[in-house]
């Protein structure tokens, strides 16, 4: 019996960070969908129902805070775990809005530990 790999939606506007983080996650056994901004991230969230959302804060068109607010208003999927990442701690974000926060730049092992923890806690 095959186990479906956890599906992560990665929302990040910087192409280098988006690509390399996605590759590392895929090599760790996750299925990854990529979005270059919050607006596209929300579209993929609705369309693909990921197990975990990992989002940057500062992005064009729709920032990470707006994306999280939209997800938290998404009815039965509102409790999807969210890992917020940013270079600066956004003061507007309530600690309860995102399930975890990781400051950039981060080491991948630290990042993956947060991913594993959030997926287990679902």
């Amino acid at each position: 019996m095959s186990t479906r790999p956890p599906h992560i939606l990665l929302v990040e506007d910087e192409p280098g960070t988006l690509m390399t983080t996605a590759i590392l996650l895929e090599m760790s056994g996750y299925r990854v969908s990529k979005a270059p901004n919050g607006r596209r991230g929300l579209e993929l969230f609705v369309a693909e129902a990921p197990d975990l959302v990992v989002t940057d804060y500062m992005m064009p068109h729709m920032d990470g805070l707006q994306l999280i607010e939209a997800i938290r208003a998404a009815g039965e999927r509102a409790s999807t775990p969210i890992l917020l990442m940013s270079s600066g701690l956004p003061p507007e974000v309530s600690p309860t809005l995102a399930d975890a926060f990781i400051r950039k730049p981060f080491e991948y092992t630290e990042f993956e530990r947060a991913v594993v923890r959030l997926l287990k806690a679902r």
Binding site: D63, S87, P90
Partner: protein
Amino acid sequence: MSDRDEKDKTPPRRITTGVPGLDTVLSGGLLPGAVYIVQGSPGAGKTILANQICFHRVTQGEKALYVTLLAESHARLIQNLERMSFYDERRLPSSIFYVSGYDDLESGGLEGILRLLNHESQRRGTSLIVVDGLFVLEESVQSEREFRKFVNYLSTLASLLTATILLLTNSRRTQASPEYTMVDGWIEVATATHGHLGSRYVQVHKFRGSDFVAGLHTTVISDDGMRVLPRLEATTGLEGQGAAEVARVPSGVPALDGLIGGGVPQGSTTLVLGPTGVGKTTLGLHFIAQCSEQAPGLIFGFYENASRLALKARMLGIDLEGLVRRGAVEVVWQPASEPSLDGLGYRLIEAVRRRGAKRVLVDGLRGFERAQFYDERSSPFLAALTHVLRAEGVTSLYTSEVPQIIGERSEISFGPISAVAENILLMRYVELDSALHRLLSVLKVRDSDFDSAVRRFVIDARGIRIGDVFRDTEGLLTGHAHRPPADA
């Protein structure tokens, strides 16, 4: 005069940059609604400059948008900024917002970038936009015409949004390239090497709607960010130069004051020339020993640090340490590694202003002579420096070493400082009767009579003591004195 005329003459509002010295070069700062190229090779300081301006504008209650295009990651960029004193984590992301424009460029081309800038700037209320990576946009277009249209639209966008736009780019194309011809200003930051020494500079090539200080200006990057040192002579007015000084201040050697009309003119510059060890610094220490808490002084030295100077002073009966302790004197020692003429000049001026110094001893003019570009800039630079010091009410004394211990006076090069020094004293050795003697002669005291006789002096535990005129001796200033033959 009509209202219209009055309005036309109102100087435009300026966007101060917060980069010390840059606003002086830009005659007050950037202009709102204008587009500027900040160009320079990697490592020249474009990113620091742009971020420093962003953080400064935020302190003025404004917001900034920083858009990158295949540049270093925001995390790395911010990590590098964290050590800068202007960096304030609390400003992120509420007041400064970093986004990547790469996806918009890939999906929407240059129009996508324009839409992104418009959308993000309007929704965040930003008045400053930085686009980091203009060369990426250049590479993405099919034709010069397309890029020209983009720069034109960008100018219109800046005007409509009343936002100042900084375009950061590595590439330096020809001046006829559309980005340079169509933008409002072009600021180059660069690094250069001279022999083994490196330096940084900024140069404004173009600045529409305003005058600017042309030419190269040294820049310094430290944990305080970038600082521009506008060429001293280019930013210092020389009006009032040569105004008559009447008040005299004591030189610290009473017998010398007797030779020059009661002391050195207040606010004047005195040059003391002489070979090594003859007593130039000793005279300078006498001069600086006249300082008090009410009229403090400064020793700006290159060779002898504070402890060595204190020891030397003690041997002359001068309590330099006590003067320093009481705040009457500050010793500012310059490392020999400082390559920047303006760096030295501004350090001296700032120390004078910080202390409210009324006397300055520059011990070793050669420290300035070693700086880059001294040969081509020395005269105007020293004129500007002495002018600034005079305007600060400072009476200055410079020591300058001449190479010859003994030799023809005509071999002595006084250097460009002599043109701006009101007073010139020459200290020399002379050989007479199989012994070396020190002698002092006054060569110049501007607008004043002086005693030009050549006098012997000694240095002992009381410092410099000036003696009698050499009599019955010829050839003193050649260094090889001799007694004239007795009349037959």
